[in-house]
């Protein structure tokens, strides 16, 4: 490798959601600059919400991002209901949980099998991979479809749910539909276990490994769960999520339409499946516990490339947990509709949820007529961007020192680092503060 100045440019990162690139500048053999360029256009949704009624929030904010539409929906409704001072009934809480599990199955299946696995198996896309691994790809798409079926049943549509309302649901699922979903979840467990074995046979490289702070929500009950109201770090710190502004510091950087985030200490951090496993992996049970031990025999290590395997462990968990939630919902009487009565009053509320890519926080305030005065959305990808750049820097330094080979191999390895975070760039451009 030449010691003179050079740039490594990946103008348009493939197999991620949204538009971004990677820019690295090396001067005199030293890495001078590492940028994740985010050039996705800004849609200013949170500013556009100002003046709308709180009942219109979900329909607008869900459209920040398609893959995360269910997550945005659940976070927004929780924040609005907190502002109104109402809680959810047990059925509504469970149904939103099932919706979240469906969204996680869909999103993880898409990322693990269609976006990330081609890197590990040496293909450009899942379509190319289908020629050599037809059975595996067919199952992966079936699994993704199952996630969509759950979202369709609970949310009324696989992308941008319509059935999800402040206070409840427009229409409740029939018991026979829940029974079908439960059976489909059970049927997917065997084939997915086969994938865990395939993954265990692939060695994950460690060229991007680096000490990392992990952040995730403490589950609302004993067990591995995706909702909670306390932000926890891998250093043992804990904060009520309502105080997120004191914990998450946001700042604007010139090369990105998305803001960056760091902890108050200035350290960057990671949110997502790997962070959740690092903090709460010991709470996994059943096959998910076995998958965790199989894929992480030494426990969670600080290597973002293993995030894809963490998603695979969560897929196993979602299949098992989904059956339990169906069971619980089947224990309730079959009804048409469930809506809570409430009185409109001025309020401010925060809602948080662990979505596939990490912790998502929504905050709204509205006046006595229910008209939105301010909105704030903190997305996982925006929180991860600064950390991604540090991982990329570590990777470039290590790869340049070890003479990695051709420029295209170097680029592919950097792309793998960015893709491991499963970035959702549409979402990230909407980290806003009013």
């Amino acid at each position: 490798m030449s010691a003179a100045g050079r740039s490594i440019v990946i103008p348009h990162l493939g197999r991620v959601e949204g538009h971004g690139g990677i820019f690295v500048k090396v001067v005199g053999g030293r890495v001078h600059e590492v940028n994740m360029d985010i050039f996705e256009g800004s849609r200013y949704y949170e500013a556009l919400l100002k003046g709308k009624h709180f009942l219109d929030v979900q329909g607008v904010i869900t459209r920040v991002c398609a893959i995360c539409s269910a997550g945005h929906t659940v976070a927004a409704l929780a924040a609005l209901e907190n502002a109104l001072g109402i809680g959810s009934s047990p059925r509504v809480f469970k149904m939103r949980g099932l919706l979240t599990l469906g969204a996680t199955i869909e999103s993880h299946a898409l990322h693990v099998f269609a976006l990330a696995l081609p890197d590990f198996l040496g293909f450009d896309s899942v379509i190319a991979m289908a020629e050599k691994y037809p059975r595996e790809v067919t199952f992966a798409l079936k699994l993704k479809q199952l996630g969509n079926r759950i979202q369709e049943l609970i949310g009324g549509r696989a992308v941008h749910p319509v059935n999800t309302l402040v206070g409840g649901f427009g229409k409740l699922p029939r018991h026979r539909d829940l029974e079908e979903i439960r059976a489909a979840l059970a049927a997917a467990q065997g084939p997915l276990a086969g994938f865990v074995e395939l993954a265990a046979s692939i060695e994950v490289p460690d060229f991007a490994a680096r000490p990392t702070v992990f952040v995730a929500l403490r589950p609302h009950e004993e067990g591995y769960r995706f909702r909670g109201s306390t932000l926890c770090t891998s250093r043992g710190e804990e904060f009520p999520v309502a105080e997120y502004r004191d914990v998450v510091r946001e700042f604007t950087v010139e090369h990105s339409h998305a803001k960056h985030a760091a902890l108050a200490s200035g350290e960057t951090y990671m949110v997502g499946s790997l962070a959740r496993l690092a903090l709460w992996g010991d709470r996994l049970v059943g096959q998910a516990r076995e998958a965790f031990q199989r894929l992480f025999p030494r426990g969670v290590e600080e290597n973002v490339l293993t995030n894809t395997w963490a998603q695979l462990v969560e897929l196993v968990h979602c299949l098992e947990r989904g059956q339990q939630v169906c069971e619980e919902l089947l224990g309730l009487p079959e009804e048409e509709r469930e809506m809570q009565d409430y009185r409109v009053r001025a309020g401010r509320g925060v809602g948080a949820i662990e979505v596939p890519r990490g912790t998502l926080i929504h905050e709204y305030s509205f006046d006595d007529d229910g008209i939105i005065e301010s909105a704030n959305v903190i997305t996982p990808t925006a929180q991860n961007l600064a950390n991604t750049e540090r991982d990329l820097r570590a990777a470039v330094e290590r790869l340049l020192a070890s003479d990695v080979g051709s420029e295209s191999i170097l680029k592919l390895k950097l792309e793998m680092v960015a893709r491991a975070y499963d970035p959702c760039i549409s979402c990230s451009v909407h980290v806003t503060c009013l």
């Binding site: 348009h12 990162l13 493939g14 197999r15 949204g18 538009h19 050039f39 996705e40 256009g41 800004s42 849609r43 200013y44 949704y45 949170e46 500013a47 556009l48 100002k50 003046g51 009624h53 219109d56 329909g59 607008v60 459209r63 991002c65 398609a66 893959i67 539409s69 898409l110 081609p118 890197d119 450009d124 896309s125 379509i127 037809p134 067919t138 798409l141 993704k144 479809q145 969509n148 009324g156 696989a158 992308v159 941008h160 319509v162 059935n163 309302l165 649901f169 427009g170 229409k171 604007t252 010139e254 090369h255 339409h257 509709r337 008209i371 792309e415 549409s426 806003t432 503060c433 009013l434």
Partner: protein, 264 residues
């Protein structure tokens, strides 16, 4: 081999990627469909793409919200034979266009706390159909999978897809849902909105928000008058109509209703 497969590109401008996701969501039919095409440029799904070759078919979703979007759109048009607009953003502007009357500097100040930010080359959000001609437009937020498959199969067969232009209201009546306007005094855009979704929202006891964009000749005035006659305030009507197809409704008279809204 009889004939070469058509070269296909799939593109997203500024948006939520929901329409591209709906293509990936055609799970069962995705691989058989992909085998009949040569998908040469799809950044969301592949890491090896040809950004310059001629395309027989291209699908474009999202709005033009940056100078860069507009450049990409013109490049795509120049290399494509049959161009398909996917989703309400691409066809009508959708939600990003709902308040184009507010200057971008104001929004920048509210979102990024400073303005002007020169690295944000944002312009007012407009649909790609505003800038270049499209052979086919397929609205929906997101598009319905069955409609996408119909377009894809028709084009592969060398035909143009045909859709009957019925309103959501018609599909809702066929499902015997209780009318959101008549029984619940809600603003429902179902009678002005292009069907194809099977009246998803009213079937979940939720009024149609008009996410699929307007019919060819929506009777805007009659609908708005019907809402007002039922005692719904102009403020409420303006708020509900300033969503998915605001630029279209503005031309039809929504401007008058919007005046009742509070100014920022």
């Amino acid at each position: 081999m009889a004939k070469s497969k058509p070269k296909v590109g799939i593109f997203g401008l500024t948006g939520c990627a929901g329409d591209q996701l709906q293509i990936l969501n055609c799970e069962d039919q995705l691989i058989p469909l992909a085998r009949q095409m040569d998908i040469v440029d799809w950044v969301m799904a592949s890491s090896r793409n040809d950004h310059t070759c001629r395309l027989d078919i291209a699908f474009v979703e999202g709005v033009v919200a940056t100078e860069r979007d507009l450049e990409s759109l013109k490049e795509i048009r120049a290399r494509t034979k049959t161009l398909v607009a996917l989703g309400t953003c691409a066809v009508w502007g959708g939600l990003p266009a709902m308040h184009n009357e507010i200057p971008r500097e104001v929004l920048q100040r509210e979102v990024y706390h400073s303005s002007p930010l020169h690295f944000l080359d944002t312009v007012e959000a407009l649909p790609p159909t505003h800038f270049v001609p499209f052979e086919i437009t397929l609205p929906g937020c997101p598009i319905e999978r069955h409609e996408f498959l119909r377009v894809a199969h028709a084009l592969l067969a060398g035909a143009m897809p045909e859709f009957h232009m019925l309103p959501v209201c018609w599909e809702c009546k066929a499902k015997e849902n209780l009318c959101r306007v008549v029984y619940f005094q809600e603003v429902c855009a179902g009678a002005m909105t292009r069907g194809g979704c099977g009246a998803r929202c009213p079937s979940h006891a939720v009024a149609c928000a008009g996410c699929r964009g307007p019919l060819e000749e929506p009777n805007y005035d009659a609908n708005i008058t019907m809402f007002a006659d039922r005692g719904i305030s102009w403020v409420e009507i303006a708020r509900k109509m300033s969503q998915f197809s605001a630029p279209v409704w503005i031309k039809q008279g929504l401007e008058k209703e919007v005046r009742h809204e509070r100014r920022r």
